[in-house]
Amino acid sequence: MVRPDRRTLWLVVPVTLALLPHALYVPLWASLAVALALAWRLTPLWRKDSLAQKAIRILLAIAGVIATWLQFHTLAGPEAGISLLVQMVALKLLESDRRRDHAVAVLAGYFLVMATLIHHQQFAVAAWLLLTTAALTAALASSQASEPLPLGTALAGGGSLVLQALPLAILMFLLFPRLPSPMAGLIHVETGRTGLSDSMVPGSVSRLILSDEVALRVDFADPATDARGLYWRGPVLADFDGRTWRRGGDRATLPAALPVGRQIDYSITLEAAAQPWLPVAGLTRSLPVADARLTAYQEWRTPRQDHERLRYAVQSWLDYRLEAELPAWQRAQALALPAGGNPDSRALARLWADQSATPREIVDRALAYFRREPFHYTLNPPPLGEHGVDDFLFLTRRGFCEHYAGAFTVLMRAAGVPARVVTGYQGGELNPVGGYWIVRQRDAHAWAEVWLAGAGWVRVDPTAAVAPERVERGLAEALPMAERPLLNLPANWLRPWRQGWDFLNNGWNQWVLGYDFQRQQRLLARLSPSLASLKGMLWAMLAGIGLILAGLALALLRNADDRPKTEVERLYARFLQGLARAGLIKGPAEGPLDFAARASRGRPDLAGQIDTITRLYLALRYGGGAGSEIGKLRRALYIFRPGGGTASKK
């Protein structure tokens, strides 16, 4: 195959870089069509002037429009529009050959770069787009030259242009007035695909476990706090139908909660998710999230069914008394069991109830049972039959946290102790780079809550009885060796890199993506109260743009006629500057030696130095001066201090 020429590569490669991120979400057929078009452009089969190929291009364009219409039932809107755009850009490349076409292709590439931001705003994507922009700019520069530029030259040019634009971009980012609400509808906010669910069947949490996604990040006010002992409370599941646990009905009442003892301060950055729950540790009385509300089950949630990335500062009490008096509806709910089913478990629970004096004793007996009998903690539990709890407790005895929490709660209810299942996260990993904790979906957990007279709702984690490592050291430690690869944990040597990367992403999320109307107002108000107004922002922006452009213009003027200067030239320029300050200015056409003679007459005190420096300069610049001489020149200049001299004394 003939290698495509440089001009073609300069056209196709940068635009391909801009097209690539769109392949993540445009329909697969569109990506394939684009890939085929690009490949066609690069092969010698492609002919610009072939009539047959022109016809094919026209047919492709029509087919693309029809296919897009069939897929989206519209051609407008970000989804359909971008799908159509990528196809048309690829087709444009198929008919591009002239300089003007190159410019159009590059402009389309810039547009693709911006369109990428509609769907992706992560740090890695931004870095990619910055590189793509530099490559596109390099392509533009190359297309304007009579010959395609060498790769290094063009990239250096493109990169330097992008770098020069960067101060402007940062200024606009900081000062461009932000809308109180983000461009709703246009910017597609990514939501997590996984998250805590309102219901739990055996297996639902363990599916979550396989996800490496970050659920939330926690920054403790007291850096010594160990997040691994904390339970991040999510939805409370109180309704059981024999197989599935579900949330109980919502009530308008608020839980009666009384904080006791230790309080911790921290802030949580919750990743966007398709669920309303706002996990917190322990008892939290207020949450600074718009519209956040507390349910009757001491859960925090948003009113909508999904949320964007949220950041909130929290005060929590790790010890508390929840519902010292159990409301009747809660008692009824927390004791309800479906009629029939799991007879053996009920029998066992009744036996414990008969043998125990207090509910607390029943709880202890149940935990002792889990501890004593050969239960196993595993991600691959065997399937359970009709009487799921019975099968689990007496036959399979292999399960995951949802099995233990569910079975324990059923046992408690059968023994007459009010109990319910709580789901959320437990554990986490410290990111030593940023000093914050990362809780991933993998750390999802289910535990139980029992109501004891005098103590209120008390957390009981039956999983801890079976596999204490789960609670103390994390999931991976608790699993049997053979199952650990299922988690896709990163190799140990990769960990510092992952942590560094997470730190970057977190910073990006907090400071760039999280820079919204409120933050802008707060930042500007802190700088100067007058800045925070629309007028202030606009004036500051205009002034800043003017300053930056003036700075760039000055830098350009200074270097207008200059090729890059060698060190010898720079040193000599310094020598001339020094003498110029002393009133001795070299004419542009004056030879160095002639000038040295004149300068020595003007400043006889410096004659020796002027002579030495001029000789070294001439030898280095025009003779084949040895490397050691530049050191001498440097030293000579170091001690050369013409000062104001005679000229200023006048």
């Binding site: 542009p588 056409a589 004056e590 030879g591 160095p592 030696l593 002639d594 001439l618 030898a619 610049r621 025009y622 003779g623 084949g624």
Partner: protein
């Protein structure tokens, strides 16, 4: 080597008084293997200078007085029938010498001028179908009268270009003039002038001149000058590439004469008027004869 040069210059300066700079330029011209044209009014010592140069360099020389009836054969030589041998035998003309003093070159007809100038360019002569090489080194030191005098055939630009330098001497300064008036007859002095160099030494010096370093920075300067000559409105046309090379070679020789092994901007400036003046045609409106003044414009080109 420096001592040689100093004694050489010293000897010539004893004969040609008060013209140290011109003498040095002449020597630089010859060291750069260029031909020299000395232009001035009659009687300012052109011939004496040419004579002194040839004698002190220790080269064999011939003098040709150009007149309006001079024929090419008078310069090149001719095949003459000899009765004794019954055949033609070539009698070489005065051109077969290392140094030719072509006096008052612009008095001769263009035909005779061409014969000399072709020999200068080729380093050989073709006579009656036979090519004969000229000796090496081979120089022409030509003198000419100002072209506005009566009875002259001005050399065309294309032929002026063959001379590396054109110099003019001018009146001597009062002190030199006094010495001249008071001192010995120049002709006697010339007759007593001893060669300061062996011929091989002079050739070695010429070779050394070509090794004098010309750095990139200096080439930048040269190019700036050439560009300026082509862009400046004072000139009808700019310097040819040959003109550029001429500056470079002359500057190398000038640097060599000061005992340096590299060229610096001052060397270029020193030789510039002599090398470029006769190659630049002033634009219409600039008075003819002001070529030296025009060349000064190029001295204003900034040194990069």
């Amino acid at each position: 080597m420096n001592a040689h040069i100093d004694s050489l210059l010293g000897r010539i300066n004893q004969v040609v008084l008060g013209k140290e700079r011109q003498v040095r330029l002449c020597l630089a011209c010859l060291l750069a293997r260029g031909h020299l044209l000395i232009e001035d009014m009659p009687g300012v010592g052109k011939t004496t200078l040419a004579h002194a140069l040839a004698r002190s360099l220790g080269l064999d020389y011939q003098r040709i007085q150009f007149t309006s009836d001079l024929l090419p054969a008078d310069i090149l030589g001719a095949a003459i029938y000899e009765r004794d041998s019954g055949g033609f035998r070539f009698h070489p003309g005065p051109i077969f010498a290392q140094v030719i003093l072509a006096d008052e070159i612009n008095r001769a007809s263009p035909k005779a001028q061409s014969a000399l100038l072709e020999a200068m360019e080729e380093g050989q002569v073709s006579i009656e179908g036979e090519t004969r090489p000229l000796p090496t080194p081979f120089f022409v030191i030509a003198t000419q009268n100002p072209t506005d005098q009566v009875g002259v055939f001005p050399l065309p630009e294309s032929q002026l270009d063959r001379f590396l330098m054109r110099l003019s001497l001018g009146y001597p300064n009062p002190a030199a003039e006094r010495d001249l008036l008071a001192g010995q007859d120049r002709r006697d002095l010339l007759a007593g002038l001893e060669p300061a160099l062996a011929p091989a030494e002079f050739v070695a010096m010429q070779q050394a001149v070509r090794t004098v370093r010309v750095a990139d920075a200096l080439l930048d300067y040269l190019q700036a000058i050439i560009q300026a000559s082509r862009q400046n409105a004072s000139f009808a046309e700019g310097l040819s590439p040959r003109g550029g090379l001429a500056i470079k070679h002359a500057a190398q020789a000038w640097a060599y004469l000061t005992g340096r092994d590299f060229v610096q901007p001052e060397d270029v400036q020193a030789v510039l008027p002599g090398v470029v003046a006769h190659r630049l045609r002033p634009a219409p409106g600039i008075t003819a004869g002001n070529e030296f003044w025009a060349a000064r414009i190029l001295l204003q080109v900034p040194i990069p």
